[in-house]
Each structure stands twice: as structure tokens, then as C-alpha cells.
């Protein structure tokens, strides 16, 4: 567990000292959401209907944008090699890196979402549900994305490949999360969607660090 915290601390320290890698996806998230009212309509009724979808698609793309850097720097400077040959559990080290990624990308998105939700005329109750879905599902985005990031770590200019690999796996999350917010707007029950998102999160925590560690070992060969 000590090595988990050490790796987490190191990754957060590296990111704080290189803030552009953290800020770029967040700026993308804010800018893309704020462009929709200009392109579609500034009317409250129109925007509130599509707000959940807009915020969820933008957060997914923002996470995707940040995933390239998850293993890339450590691959290029050789730290990843040292992690792989370490006698510590590689899935645990990967889980630690994913946690750092979520803290740096997922949490800021969750914190920004109420502001952007209100900007798109979401009511207070729907904003709460939006935050809850993001809290349940952004860790899954980081976890599932880590599989793709580890598969493409040795390939240059692989952003498009990462999108092709990962976006299909994000679709169930997008469907359940945006449907939960939409249903909450009409006062309908959203328990089912939240259970599905929680189930995806549990399954992701249980499997993705292991899959990702196998993919990393293959990429390093």
C-alpha cells in the first residue's frame, strides 16, 4: 500500500509542476460546453433538454484528451521499465497512476459541472444528479481508458487509435449517465441507471489494472 501512495504522490507532483498537461483537457471541457449555446440556441428550454448530453460528451472527450499522457512520459523516460521489473504488483502501480489521473481530470470535471450545468439552465436537482453520475462514472472513464493508453503507449501519434479503441467502451457509460440526468429532469426514478454505473465502476476496478498491466508488458517488449 505504501508504494501505491508513493506512486500517487509522485504522479501528482509531476502533474502540478507541469500544469499544462492538466489544464488543457479542462479548458477543452469548458470551451466545448460553452460553445453549444452559441451554435444551437441560447433558449433555456432547448439547452436544458440537451445539457446532460453536452456535459457528458464534453467530459468524455476531455478525459480522452488527457489519456495519452497517462503512461507516455514514463514510457519515454524509462520509469515504466523500472515499474515493470519492480517486484511490486504492477496492477497496483497502474491503479495508483489511474487514481492520480482521476484526481487531476475527473475531480475538476465534477467540480466544474454544477457551474456549466447552471450555465445550460439545468435545475438544481438535475445538477445534483449530474454530479452524482460524474462521481460514479469518471473513475470508470479513467480505468477503461488506461487499457487503451497502455496498448498504444509505444506508438507515436496514436491519439486517433486511442479514440477508436476506447470510445466504444465508453458508450454504455454515456447512455446510462445522460439518461439518469434526463430522467431526473422529469422527476423519474434513476436508481437503475445509478446501479449500472456503479456496477461498471466495480467491474472496472476489479479488471482494468490487470488488463492494463498485461498490455503494458506487451507494449514494452
Amino acid at each position: 500500500m505504501n508504494i501505491y501512495l508513493q506512486t500517487l504522490k509522485r504522479d501528482l507532483r509531476v502533474a502540478i509542476r507541469n500544469p499544462s498537461s492538466v489544464l488543457n483537457p479542462l479548458l477543452f471541457f469548458i470551451i466545448s460546453v460553452s460553445l453549444f449555446p452559441l451554435a444551437i440556441s441560447p433558449e433555456a428550454s432547448t439547452l436544458s433538454q440537451i445539457a446532460a448530453g453536452i456535459i457528458w460528451v464534453a467530459s468524455m472527450l476531455a478525459v480522452l484528451l488527457s489519456l495519452n499522457a497517462l503512461f507516455h512520459h514514463d514510457f519515454e523516460n524509462g520509469v515504466l521499465e523500472q515499474m515493470v521489473i519492480s517486484h511490486h504488483s504492477l496492477p497496483l502501480l497502474i491503479l495508483s497512476k489511474i487514481t492520480a489521473h482521476w484526481i487531476l481530470t475527473g475531480i475538476p470535471i465534477i467540480l466544474l459541472s454544477p457551474l456549466l450545468g447552471l450555465f445550460l439552465f439545468l435545475d438544481g436537482e438535475s445538477v445534483k444528479v449530474l454530479m452524482l453520475t460524474l462521481l460514479l462514472a469518471t473513475p470508470s472513464l479513467s480505468l477503461i481508458g488506461a487499457i487503451g493508453a497502455s496498448l498504444i503507449v509505444g506508438i507515436k501519434n496514436s491519439g486517433m487509435l486511442l479514440s477508436l479503441l476506447i470510445l466504444p467502451l465508453y458508450i454504455p457509460i454515456l447512455i446510462f449517465a445522460s439518461s439518469a440526468v434526463s430522467q431526473a429532469q422529469f422527476g423519474l426514478d434513476i436508481t437503475g441507471q445509478l446501479y449500472f454505473l456503479a456496477a461498471i465502476l466495480v467491474a472496472s476496478i476489479m479488471t482494468t489494472p490487470f488488463v492494463s498491466s498485461i498490455a503494458l508488458k506487451i507494449s514494452l517488449e
Binding site: 521499465e81 514494452l220 517488449e221
Partner: protein, 200 residues
Amino acid sequence: MPSLNVNNLSCQRGYNQLFSELSFEVNSGDVLRITGTNGSGKTSLLKILAGLNAAEEGKITLDNHPVKSDEYQSEVFYLGHLSALSAELSSIENLEFLTGLNQSIDQQRLIEALNKVGLEGYENEHCGKLSAGQKRRVILAGLFVSNVKIWLLDEPFTALDPQGVKIVEECISKHCAQGGLCLFTTHQDSALPDQKVLAL
């Protein structure tokens, strides 16, 4: 007394057979210098011995523990071509993390190790600002605090000045005198005494 056994090791990269049926034994106190032309498989051999790459055939054991087992991996220090340093972190922070992957070491010992490789005063300097030779010294400082048995060093003298080479050679000699074993690749002459040579 540790003993590294390599039996009938074969390695192929693409259509190129780098080496085949390679067998040797390295015992406690031995220094094995691996030589060969560019592309002869020196780095590949070290990576296989470190558990990073898989061999096509063959068996590697350390005291009967196979490569990639926890017992084997916990006894390996591998220094590759890459610096293994993050530019955003200081020398001491990088070293603390890298050594922490194998063992827990207090910061005072790490500072002493950095001093031994001639980096006194550079403990808090970000590695992105260091020269190639200084970066090499940071990672080599890990040797001074390492308590693992096998050192696998790929071109350890690259980018080092003669004084740096001497420090590393003394460190290797001391490690082997204490019962460790060291395998290293180099294109340079080495003043290490009693070294065995494996030509690929």
C-alpha cells in the same frame, strides 16, 4: 551465495537471430562484461535477464528462482539506456521513487549517495535542468543504496567523465567483493579487476 544460471537462451528480433543456445553462469563476486558489436543483442540480453523481455527459448534462474518470479525480481537492479528520471522532479525525489520500487530507504542515505557520485548541492535541482552526465549520475547513485544481489547495467559509463567512470567501477568492485554479482555492457575498456567477458 547467489548464482545466476542462464541455459540455452535464444533471442530473435523480427527475422534477426541475435543469439541462440547461450549458456553461462555468474556466481557471487563475479563481474561479467558483455561485449559485442551494435545490434549483437547486448541490450536484449540484459532486458531478458531483467525480466523486461521474453526469450524465445531458454531458462534463467537465480538460486533456482526463475526470472519474473517475485524472489528473482526483488534481487535485480536494472539500469537501461533511458534515464528513468522525470524532468519535473528533483534528483532526490526521482531517486527516492526509483529506489522505493525495490526497497524503502531514508532520505539521508539518498543524499549521501548523491554526494558520492559528485552531485553535492544538486539534491533539489530538477532533473530537467541537469546535463546528460549528471542525469546518469543520479540514477547510478541508486547503486550506492542498493541491497539487491544482481546488477544489470547497460552501458553504465555512457556520458560519464573519467572521474565518474572510476566512481562506478569502484562501486561495482565493492558490490562484488560483498558477494553481489554484476553484468554490464560496454564498448569502452574497463579497469575492473577479474572481470569475465562474454562476447556476443
